[in-house]
């Protein structure tokens, strides 16, 4: 199933959603596609080892579409689930993907001109990489929703398709660590700090986020550190007196 090209539909407030924007988003996401593809191959291979069929592994990539949570869920995947095990799965998934709550919040003022129905549909494609390139595009004055959607759709197609050869090839690329692919998003995120830096106004929130996230990661298992650190940093930005 391919994602249909959305027809140009400028919203009431004039924020555009165009095919040209979608293509621009797909272009901006290009540098990340090879790495994402190899990560998906690795997920497909890991899924074989856990006894998932090709259809099941591909369905997980298509519906969940969140690599790290898929990899972690495989760690304790089982054929049959008790209610407590399902609750555990929900909690782990929510903890790992909780950062998306904050990513959606940060984009909200930019998304608001578009209809709620459109936003609820297109947010299915929200993930780290298209969120980040959209923040960058938006910081440069960009307004076309197509950039977020086009980048997300390109990533989704690659992510789902590349799961298949991974499953078929089995353990050939079963260790994503070897090529540093477990660090793909962190490395990309790190580089993106350069264009995100706007001078001293960033300093306090970033320092607070750094201290709180590292401290929570040392004190607690799991992935709550992203949300805790980011919230603390945003609060520092809101209440710090830089202006």
């Amino acid at each position: 199933m391919s994602t249909a090209a959305p027809e140009p539909a400028p919203s009431e407030n004039g924020a555009p959603f165009t095919l040209a924007g979608c293509i621009e988003g797909a272009r901006l996401i290009m540098p990340l596609l090879p790495g994402v593809a190899v990560f998906a191959v690795a997920f497909g291979a890991a899924a074989v080892a856990k006894g998932l069929s090709l259809g099941e592994a591909t369905a997980m990539s298509a519906f969940v579409y969140a690599g790290l949570s898929q990899m972690v869920a495989l760690e304790f995947w089982r054929p049959e689930w008790s209610l407590p095990a399902l609750v555990g799965l929900a909690l782990v998934t929510g903890a790992i993907n909780g950062r998306m709550i904050l990513q959606g919040a940060s984009l909200q003022p930019w998304l608001k001109p578009h209809s709620t129905r459109l936003n609820l549909a297109q947010l299915f494609l929200l993930t780290d990489a298209n969120w980040l390139i959209t923040e960058r595009y938006r910081a440069g004055g960009g307004r076309d929703l197509g950039v977020l959607v086009g980048a997300g759709a390109a990533l989704w197609v690659i992510w789902v398709l590349a799961t298949i050869p991974g499953h078929v090839a089995g353990t050939l690329v079963s260790d994503p660590r070897r090529f540093g692919l477990d660090l793909l998003m962190p490395v990309y995120f790190s580089a993106m700090l350069v264009p995100m830096w706007r001078g001293r106004v960033n300093a306090l929130p970033w320092i607070v986020a750094a201290v709180v996230s590292v401290a929570s990661a040392r004190l607690m298992e799991g992935y709550a550190f992203v949300v805790l650190g980011a919230l603390a940093g945003a609060l520092a930005g809101a209440f710090g007196h830089d202006e």
């Binding site: 969940v64 950062r99 909200q108 995100m196 996230s213 940093g233 945003a234």
Partner: protein
């Protein structure tokens, strides 16, 4: 050993992951729609993207060790030097591949 009743197979577990992840995707957008955009909220939102990035990478580097720290630093330096995402990715992942191949 356990007396837990099995209530779901693959489809049920997949549905749980799908719904939870989708709720994460939409709830930030939905909740911010209920919060008035005061200057203070705007400043917080403006600070949020960078803070998400920092909070996502530093603890992972802290847990993974010096190889990860070095990779992040090299990617950052490459980006600052040439403003090229491709160069930053290749340099960062290249450092990890090389150091891990060397047994670090």
């Amino acid at each position: 050993m356990t007396s837990d009743v099995l209530v779901a197979g693959f489809a049920g577990a997949l549905a749980v992951m799908t719904v939870v992840t989708y709720l994460c995707r939409i709830s930030g957008f939905a909740l911010m729609g209920l919060v008035p955009l005061t200057p203070r909220v705007k400043r917080g939102l403006a600070a949020l993207p960078g803070c998400i990035v920092i909070s996502a990478i530093l603890p992972i580097a802290d847990r993974s060790g010096p190889v990860a720290f070095l990779a992040l630093a090299v990617a950052l330096a490459a980006m600052a030097w040439r403003r090229s995402e491709v160069l930053a990715l290749v340099a960062g992942l290249g450092v990890v591949t090389a150091l891990r191949a060397a047994g670090l």
